[in-house]
Symmetry: C2
């Protein structure tokens, strides 16, 4: 935009737009899939398809990381995978602490899908002393007052808030005071953090309400008894078959 961002591999710290950052994980996942199929090169078009975005966006996004493609050919899968991993910090270990070991906290603790790439649950913490000492997935629950030591000793970098909403802010404050600078909040509450601390939220109620908003504006609200005319949206393939692996492990 103003000062030459560009060309270089010199130490220019390119500024990557937030929207792009949010899509890098999609490219990462798509590339992992592609790599597993032993495919060595991929076009922006194909990558876009697998990531569920459009090709122009892929090219623009990847161009922020550097010019890693080859004109007329595409992107080298392994190389691009490596670059994106590096940008996302997936080559490191990120110890995570979960605060609040209720239903959700336990589900998170059992979630195997994300331990895979560097995110490792290193602590389970709860304010309820009755829970302290119990094990979940091989990890003992610890008292929340031990947070400062836990964070320091295990170098916790990410805290997940899985408590009831009314203590979410309090927990966030404790995490920040203990030195955590990245927080993922699952509690349905607005939580403020100081500058320098990143905070993202996952809020089921909000998602449902957004869906409800749009559903309301579609043809007919759910009241419809006759699902009549929907023949149009039949999906062709016969999916009545297998569908085996639906069991266990949460999504992922």
């Amino acid at each position: 935009m103003s000062d030459r961002p560009g060309r270089g591999h010199s130490g220019t710290p390119r500024r990557i737009p937030e929207a792009t950052v949010a899509r890098l994980p999609l490219y990462y996942r798509a590339l992992v899939d592609i790599a597993e199929h032993r495919i060595s090169t991929v076009s922006s078009e194909r990558l876009a398809e697998l990531a569920g975005v459009n090709a122009a966006k892929v090219r623009k996004d990847l161009s922020y990381l550097g010019s890693y493609g080859t004109r007329g050919v595409g992107y080298d899968v392994e190389f691009l995978l490596h670059q994106i991993s590096r940008e996302l910090g997936l080559t490191r270990d990120w110890p995570v602490a979960i605060v609040g070991v209720g239903n959700l906290g336990q589900a998170l603790a059992n979630y195997k899908g994300f331990g895979a790439r560097g995110f490792r649950i290193a602590a389970l913490v709860d304010a309820d002393d009755d829970k302290v000492g119990r094990e979940v997935d091989g990890l003992a629950i610890e008292p929340i007052r031990a947070l400062p030591e836990i964070v320091a000793e295990r170098q916790i970098s990410i805290g997940m808030i899985a408590t009831p909403a009314h203590v979410a802010q309090e927990v966030a404050d404790l995490l920040v005071a203990a030195g955590v600078r990245s927080i993922l909040n699952f509690a349905p509450a607005v939580v403020a953090v100081p500058d320098g601390v990143s905070m993202r939220k996952v809020d089921l109620a909000i998602e449902l309400q957004i869906l409800s908003f749009y559903q309301l504006r579609k043809g007919g609200p759910a009241r419809r008894r006759d699902r009549a005319a929907t023949g149009a949206m039949d999906v062709e393939e016969g999916l009545e078959q297998g569908l085996d692996g639906l069991h266990q492990g949460m999504a992922g």
Copy 2:
């Protein structure tokens, strides 16, 4: 190319920007809190504080719904609450089906926090016949092949995908074929749906990777007292959030 309210619709009077729609639930929640404190009027400034956004945004957002405020005074809490509820469809009942009753599916089924306003779990479905018949939170697990009847009879309007990633697309197709037009996907996979179907995703791995990206750029493993840097995210402005006593608890 996925959701988006979209075309071919009878004349919608106002078009509400997507970003605004995504914030309405925040205002809704803040207003519920305010109402519980028996406060009858609220300014855009105060509402902004409680919702974690800024006042200009609140006013602009609310202006899309109509001019419901009073200059020099503020917004009538009850009235605004009613308007937003109506826009979000929270005055109706939205039966939800959860597909995939593993760890996450169960956590979702037990999650009491969202049942509060109209979202009611009306079906638990799984492909694993060993699970069929078992009860979770008083609701019996049913076979996925019964989906069409379940959706039709219980007027399911929202489907949640809580299966492993490799069957997510298949499940989405089944939901759509059964008549579901709003989907919330928890599986870490890109899922495509036809026009007219809304689909949102909640992806833990993506959130963690985004946090990891920004954490990497915060200059080192554990530094404190730092300003600048991040640039992109971090929560809106400082707000103190004074309300305590949110109701709805999540997780046990």
